[in-house]
Symmetry: C2
């Protein structure tokens, strides 16, 4: 396998883009990444695009081809394929892009992710998102992702003494970091009290434990490591790209306070990169709900099982802490355009590893891990990125 | 890149499966492929699944993970990702699986495709299929795939003198071949007269120029060529795996009687496999409409541009002709479960190359080409398979 590097990044602002179409957002992010890579768009050999819900929400399938066409690449017949793993679609697309370059089949690959979520009424979008759970065995009986997350949170509190206040630290830190990220959707600072007193969505989770509805797109350009320095002085190596799955429904799992797909993805990623959790300088975790990132922090070996709440309470997940979590603002505050999220995490990671994150810079960051999931971590995509 | 072989195949009967669910069909095909490969399901390292419309039609995204779970693989945390390129989704999934094994990242890979199209009223399915065209610039203005195909056919008749009768030979041969395929949906023989006198769908295309609505699934197991003979005496090598795209809308193209994405996919595939069109013993072409396969036959270099109709009229596309087209019965008569089609073409090809096709066997077939497209060949996936 060839080593794979990221040589270009691009993203739109995350937020509510009422006047723009999905394809418009995707092309903006893609062309920014191409420009950042110092190449021409026609040098792209293949495109892998993450998206979850365009078929359901805007009636548009065949999405990667549509976007390639609108980016001006139809003339060059550039291969383009959409990849879907619910909210993990972006991570899945990166995994495809990694294979594409590692295999030697393609040299210059654009990996993108996009979602346009504000084009339909909220209840339509909620139903589209619910299609990441089992329609026949969960959704039909009333399960929603906040309610599934709430059960995981309640059980974690019962088993490990995790407190409501500890959970609240995840969104508090996310909003603090997003306040320093001009591309983020929710840039207001919040407090633990605000989280606790926000409207309850599914007890014990409140509105401020939940990521928002977001429009946005993100993209990266991959190239073989051996040629990466021709294009950039700061190539970022993908030293691990790992995918796993788990039981789709939490009712099938032996435990709901740990996700084996997280544990296995971490284990494989560390082995592939030849490092351990202690070698990671910061993480971008999939905090669709605060409990999901807390559990991931434990499952990925950064703290012992049950100690995630305490670690957060001590401030260790904040910038300057032992392991900064989501310097971008995370899904919670940077925003969660579902198909784009996994790619957006990687864009933030590259910005950090290049040392270009300004106010939210993680000092001396050399290696980071991204964790992007579909459903209640029924699909998990973990990448380890490093400057070399 | 490692050489990649197909060591196992499986498929459901194509047709109307009123009593069965999408996941049920997918698992049947997958487990048949696993059994055919003489392995245990838990030996599968990754799954790539082609599907177009489950999100729209049955409200189920996150599809590959759902199916992996229902196949009993959640316990083993097997990576599973859905791949979408409209009616080319199956070919796209095979392209991913090829990269996965070629790269060395995965050894044993299951590639599947599935579609359940009879669960919703016809007009709902027609709209879901229309999402493979440009919703904003084609579908909104009334374009449908039969009407787009009809324009391509009319222009081909005008430019090259192709006759209505010549076009009809494609469905006539497809039904003849399907009559010999127990897994096919439409096994009745038809005549040129029947095609011409069938209800007009979009002039000049009649009902019998159009592929049906189909439920079905297909799967193959891939492994590195170097170990393939441990599992089977008849490994089939994937000697080319190529993807291209074109302008999504035919109104953007310089010509509508040739598809550059076809031409480029063929050219790249022949180069990758080190062969030419004359070295191909039979083809499985994407005959969603008779004109689509006629144009592909020319674009892929099997006959000169404009000569496809004459070639068909002379009987050269039938079993025993110079280049048998769609011994399976093709999309027209074997059926067209859109996300499964590209994989099903490969299943038929392996059956033929193993010499196990019975009455519809192409004598002495050693090498074949499969051609699977999305939309009006806006995405094209070409594979060359051979016995070695």
């Amino acid at each position: 396998m060839r080593d794979v590097a990221i040589i270009g990044i691009g993203q739109t602002k995350y937020g509510e883009h009422w006047k723009r179409s999905l394809r418009d957002l995707a092309v903006e992010a893609g062309l920014k990444a191409v420009e950042d890579a110092n190449i021409y768009a026609k040098e792209i050999d293949a495109i892998f695009g993450g998206n979850m819900a365009a078929g359901t929400v805007i009636g548009q399938d065949h999405l990667a081809t549509i976007i390639a066409d609108f980016a001006g690449l139809a003339e060059h017949n550039v291969p383009a394929v959409k990849v879907e793993a619910a909210c993990g679609s972006g991570g899945a697309a990166l995994h495809m892009g990694f294979m594409a370059v590692a295999s030697g089949l393609y040299d210059m690959v654009l990996v993108g992710g996009v979602e346009k979520m504000t084009d339909v009424p909220g209840e339509h979008m909620t139903d589209a998102l619910a299609s990441a759970a089992d329609r026949e065995w969960e959704v039909t009986f009333g399960a929603t992702f906040p309610s599934l997350g709430a059960m995981m949170a309640r059980r974690h509190m019962y088993e490990y003494g995790t407190t409501r206040e500890q959970l609240a630290m995840f969104p508090v830190v996310a909003h603090e970091n997003a306040s320093k990220n001009p591309m983020a959707q929710l840039r207001n600072r919040i407090t633990v009290e605000k989280v606790l007193n926000a409207p309850v969505i599914a007890d014990p989770l409140t509105l401020l434990d939940c990521s928002p509805i977001t429009d946005g797109a993100a993209a990266v350009v991959l190239a073989p490591m051996e040629v990466a320095r021709k294009y950039t002085d700061t190539p970022v190596k993908i030293s691990a790209s790992v995918a796993t799955t788990d039981y789709i429904s939490i009712h099938s799992r032996p435990s709901i306070t740990t996700v084996k797909a997280n544990v296995e993805a971490g284990r494989k990623a560390y082995r592939m990169a030849g490092v351990g959790p202690g070698d990671i300088d910061f993480v971008e975790l999939h905090d669709a709900f605060s409990i999901i990132s807390l559990i991931a922090l434990e499952d990925l070996g950064f703290v012992e099982k049950g100690q995630g709440g305490k670690f957060a309470e001590e401030g260790q997940i904040a910038l300057g802490g032992k392991l900064p979590v989501n310097p971008s603002g995370g899904l919670k505050a940077k925003g969660h355009p579902v198909g784009a999220t996994g790619v957006g995490q990687v864009v933030e990671t590259v910005i950090q590893l290049r040392g270009e994150a300004g106010e939210r810079q993680v000092d001396g960051a050399k290696r980071a891990l991204t964790h992007n999931v579909g459903g209640t971590a029924s699909s998990v995509f973990v990448h380890i990125l490093e400057v070399v």
